[in-house]
Point group: C2
Chain length 262, copies 2
């Protein structure tokens, strides 16, 4: 859905079973672009994508925000919900429907699978398995939707990133966003000193996230999104000031901000 | 293990199937204290615990850090690893062993269950199921450890919080930590203005995390840990300055910092 929205249904799409595979396919030039989920408005960051961004040399060249509607899907052969032995979905979708599941199926086994598409497939093969997935997946696998929009927040959307090789980096569009990864020395005030140049120059942070550095236990890297493009004068000045913070900075990409009127 | 370490094996322990249940048991006075995982040095924050802290009125009264060693455990009846059809564990343990699993069992189904104890139990009931869990769980359920210490980082530990009702809040020990939750208005520079008083007063942040606010999509709350106790003079001054930031602050607790010599 995200890829369809971003590429205006012009793409030749290759489905990948995992997020790691999307990165690998673009790195190995099997695909020109990759689309991965990075954050959900209810459930937060998609850790696996963040960890892949730490290691990957790919650039972020775009973003797209997709409203998420989860349906409770069952096999058409199911007679009675009491026959449901397990409910399958991607772990983030299970988390997004936590309250509904606790109210309606408090004792049913929950099993996380690699994607909501796989969940729908499993439900199509076995009537004792129910799936949480989008209506589109339910349709593809001939499932029946017993309940629609079961997610805990009605205003639930997921932000996706569009990945490509560095040379596909985009020029300023006028309304851009830049994503950075910052490694700091584990020293008092390190984060404050990183934020100081943003404040001084009036550059607006739209997000800050921490993840374990994977290098040293209890050390962190910061993921920062801010308004602007690496080719903007103000952003060039920002980087000059950030360099004095003795932090290591990796630019993940500058790209046009998502707008639903695109 | 964490509870044993914190309470010096003096406790009368009640196992709970989920993190939500630990909070509920203490809130309903069924248990005096609760112990929940909050962060792993490789995998990062335990989102479910953070989300429970947002809603709960319980106080954090202690912390304990436990080194994590994961074993690959199989049923003693297993003849050949080719017979393994699925590998079960808590989702965070699966994530902590991602590289090992991708090298050794790239095509085997991974299934997350509610705890590593449950994983070991499942493996004891079915030879086609392998479990990732600690050696202690393997011993309890009569499993064979095929590989020890399969986690991706050898220096892997998990931080646990000890929860209790507010009146159990502790007095300063001399080496304390305080955990806060801060809600800010989604305004440029909001985070910078929160960090400014810490910097001015030389109060050292040991952690900062963001989570979706659960109130408004794409709004965040900040989890901040810093050195000091709410009864310290410096911290009282810190709160006075933070109050001018128009941020809403919830003190989660002040408690003695973990020391392995405890």
């Amino acid at each position: 859905m995200a890829a369809n929205l971003y590429f205006a249904e012009q793409g030749d799409y290759l489905p990948c079973p995992t997020i790691d595979d999307v990165f690998a396919n673009v790195e190995q030039k099997i695909s020109e672009y990759g689309v991965v989920p990075v954050e959900n408005s209810t459930e937060g960051a998609v850790n696996n994508t963040q960890d892949c961004l730490i290691d990957s040399q790919l650039a972020i060249v775009g973003e797209v925000i997709v409203p998420i509607v989860h349906d409770f899907l069952v096999n058409k052969a199911l007679k009675n919900t009491a026959q449901i032995e397990r409910i399958v979905s991607h772990k983030q979708s299970l988390a997004q429907c936590r309250n509904w599941l606790m109210s309606n199926f408090p004792h049913t086994q929950l099993q996380d699978v690699s994607s909501n598409g796989q969940a729908a497939q499993l439900a199509s093969e076995d009537a004792s398995t129910a799936a949480i997935a989008g209506a589109l997946a339910g349709k593809m696998y001939g499932l029946k939707s017993l309940h629609s929009a079961i997610q805990d927040k009605s205003n639930n959307s997921t932000r996706f990133l569009v990945l490509a090789e560095n040379e596909k980096a985009t020029t300023p569009s006028g309304a851009d966003k830049t994503s950075l990864l910052i490694y700091t020395h584990n020293r008092p005030g390190a984060l404050f000193r990183i934020l100081q140049p943003f404040e001084e120059l009036g550059v607006s942070l739209s997000k800050i996230e921490t993840r374990p550095s994977k290098i040293e236990a209890w050390e962190y890297v910061f993921f920062i999104d801010f308004d602007g493009h690496v080719e903007d004068k103000l952003v060039i000045e920002l980087f000059a000031r950030l360099e004095q913070c003795t932090a290591e900075i990796k630019v993940l990409g500058s790209y046009a901000k998502f707008s639903s009127e695109n």
